[in-house]
């Protein structure tokens, strides 16, 4: 019963926060609500026995990505947003499309058979700690994707500098 109540709280708050985020006129407000949303998502990860991901969610998403957004917005000093209408003229079409497809898909979710094949028990993860479990998997079995991710980060560094630097010699 307690599980349901906690999940219900998280679900309702997250959905309303998501709606608030995309409807704010001022981007600053959006980002602050987005931060609250990220903390809730991290809470949900804790609920699902993924402590390491919860930490990453807060450190990287809230601590790095959103702060990057804040920096850029303050750097650009945008006042234009407050005077213009926030939605494109075609927004009702988007809304109808999104609501229709969401309803159709959500109906088809219930009663579906999901996989039940795994061999990792939660007690095993709890024994060594989630960070250790993820780390072992990441550096042994998923070494190749990890290396590719490092290349992606390098591209991001090079690309961001090429695009945003004032002058390139």
């Amino acid at each position: 019963m307690l599980n349901q109540i906690i999940f219900g709280y998280f679900a309702v708050t997250m959905i309303s926060l998501a709606l608030i985020v995309i409807t704010r006129k001022n981007i600053m407000h959006s980002i602050v609500y987005m931060l609250i949303l990220f903390f809730h998502i991290a809470g949900l990860y804790l609920f699902l026995n993924a402590e390491f991901l919860a930490a990453i969610q807060i450190i990287v998403y809230a601590g790095a990505i959103m702060v990057l957004f804040l920096f850029v917005i303050m750097l650009l000093n945008l006042r234009e947003e407050l005077r213009k209408s926030r939605f494109a003229i075609t927004w009702p079409i988007g809304a109808i499309f999104v609501v229709l497809s969401a309803v159709m898909i959500i109906i088809s979710v219930f009663g579906n058979r999901f996989a039940n094949v795994g061999n990792v028990k939660i007690s095993d993860i709890e024994k060594v700690g989630h960070t250790v479990a993820v780390g072992k998997l990441l550096f042994v079995e998923y070494l190749f994707p990890f290396e590719v991710a490092s290349l992606i980060l390098l591209v991001a560094i090079v690309g961001a500098i090429v695009l945003a630097k004032k002058e390139i010699k």
């Binding site: 979710v109 190749f144 290349l151 390098l154 991001a156 390139i168």
Partner: protein, 471 residues
């Protein structure tokens, strides 16, 4: 702990070494042309290594089979062409940075990883590596508003389509409990869950996102704008590379993961292919800018290549691969001439700039004529052979009417390709343009046209190569 077998990954490792050394060398070299030469030589070495490095490694995550080798060959030839044709074009626009080549090679590494992805994680990461580098490349001329606009549009729609792809991956993961492409396919076949609604939904998500990547209608909206605004050398690069890479994962995912559902996805893809050919060929008729026209033509060619996937057979797949190789040559050929005209300061992108080209530059006009014939699909050029194999595959798969539709659309395409030819040969020129065919671009154009004619009269070795390379 045992060390994974690194032999199959050697080409990617060599490319990574190339890119990292490029980053360092760039600091010391002022003449950026040498960096282009270095990139070309390095990529040529990697092409040789590609043929010797086969096998499956990292627990099935990286599959260097002959299918991926064929595509890697396409990507590497593509990056060599792009590296050569960029030099003069970017120098004229004061945008010849060493980072340009770094990003070109990074994008190629991403494509190579996509082609040999055996796991959906690797597939996604390869896709992002390719896509992120290409977004930056589209905006590389930093003072040009058009280039910026193209990059922003490409970025927004690319990121959107990756998010859709990710949701499709997560649905597949939830249903089958695995991210390994082969295991997912086996699970679906074993459990017989072809009527699972969420699985079909995952299929739709995959088609949507791959549709964005290959520029199939109705997900093609970004293509003309991005191809028009991006630097012409990058347009040449990304109208072949990312498209071929998307076709590579398209073929692999659909033939291995979803073979049991082929009834459903063929029915979804047929209208998409017809719409793609229709939009590409019909809207191209109205274009007056050659880059936009080639963008719509690239949409149309994606529609033809989709026929190979619709055939859902090894024959169709090898026809699609063969077509991508041929498309590489003819498309680059067309763009080289556009770049050569661009490099003459006065000439823009309008198709009227091609008026009377045969008077001032008879050889260049003749080469363009062959390329345009090939894009239309007139024998004895390679474009004809490529289309022939594709249509034969579709007919053998039992969709004869679809081949008829495709032939009708290729007949329509003759109007806009041959209009350029007509401008070049029938009209008087407004301005005299002098094109030199003895510089690198000209030599490359001659090589490409030679390849187009060579594949056209002698397609057998290339078809055999593609046939050997099927999954």
């Amino acid at each position: 702990m045992q060390v994974p077998d690194l032999i199959p990954v050697v080409p990617e490792i060599l490319m990574t070494i190339l890119v990292l050394s490029l980053l360092v060398i760039d600091l010391f070299i002022k003449q950026k042309e040498y960096i282009a030469v270095y990139t070309v030589v390095g990529s040529l070495l990697v092409i040789i290594s590609v043929f010797y490095c086969t096998g499956v490694t990292f627990k099935g995550m990286f599959v260097a089979d002959s299918y991926s080798i064929f595509f890697k060959m396409i990507f590497l030839i593509n990056v060599i062409f792009a590296a050569i044709i960029s030099v003069e074009y970017l120098k004229k626009r004061a945008s010849l940075y060493g980072e340009y080549y770094v990003l070109l090679v990074f994008a190629t590494i991403g494509m190579m990883i996509m082609a040999s992805a055996g796991n959906l994680i690797v597939l996604y990461l390869g896709l992002e590596l390719m896509a992120l580098s290409t977004y930056v490349l589209a905006g590389i001329i930093r003072t040009d508003g058009l280039s910026t606009e193209a990059a922003v549009k490409y970025f927004l729609l690319g990121a959107f389509s990756s998010a859709i792809l990710l949701y499709g991956i997560s649905l597949l993961y939830g249903i089958t409990g695995s991210l390994d492409i082969r295991e997912i396919g086996l699970y679906i076949a074993k459990e017989g869950i072809i009527n699972n609604k969420l699985l079909l939904l995952g299929l739709v998500f995959f088609i949507t996102s791959f549709g964005f990547k290959i520029a199939a209608a109705p997900f093609h909206m970004w293509t003309p704008d991005v191809y028009h605004g991006a630097p012409t050398s990058i347009t040449a690069f990304m109208s072949v590379g990312p498209k071929a890479a998307a076709f590579a994962i398209f073929g692999r995912v659909f033939m291995i993961v979803f073979p049991a559902l082929s009834g459903s996805w063929v029915n979804l893809l047929i209208p998409i292919a017809i719409l793609t050919m229709a939009v590409g060929n019909i809207v191209a008729l109205a274009q007056t800018n050659i880059k936009r026209m080639l963008a719509y033509s690239s949409i149309a060619h994606a529609g033809y290549a989709l026929l190979g996937i619709i055939a859902a057979s090894n024959e169709g797949l090898s026809a699609m691969m063969n077509y991508m190789l041929i498309y590489l040559f003819m498309n680059v050929g067309a763009f080289i001439l556009v770049i050569m005209l661009n490099n003459q300061a006065k000439v823009g992108d309008s198709i009227h700039d091609y008026r009377g080209l045969s008077k001032s530059n008879p050889l260049a006009a003749f080469l363009m004529l062959i390329i345009m014939f090939s894009l239309t699909g007139i024998p004895p050029t390679a474009g004809f052979m490529g289309k022939l194999y594709l249509f034969m595959a579709v007919v053998n798969a039992g969709y004869g009417w679809l081949a008829v539709v495709a032939v009708i659309f290729s007949a329509i395409s003759a109007f806009y390709y041959l209009r350029i030819v007509m401008f070049m040969f029938m009209n008087e020129s407004i301005e005299e343009v002098k094109l030199s065919l003895v510089d690198v671009n000209g030599l490359l154009l001659i090589i490409v046209v030679f390849m187009v004619l060579f594949i056209g009269v002698n397609p057998q070795p290339f078809v055999e190569l593609a046939r050997l390379a099927i999954l």
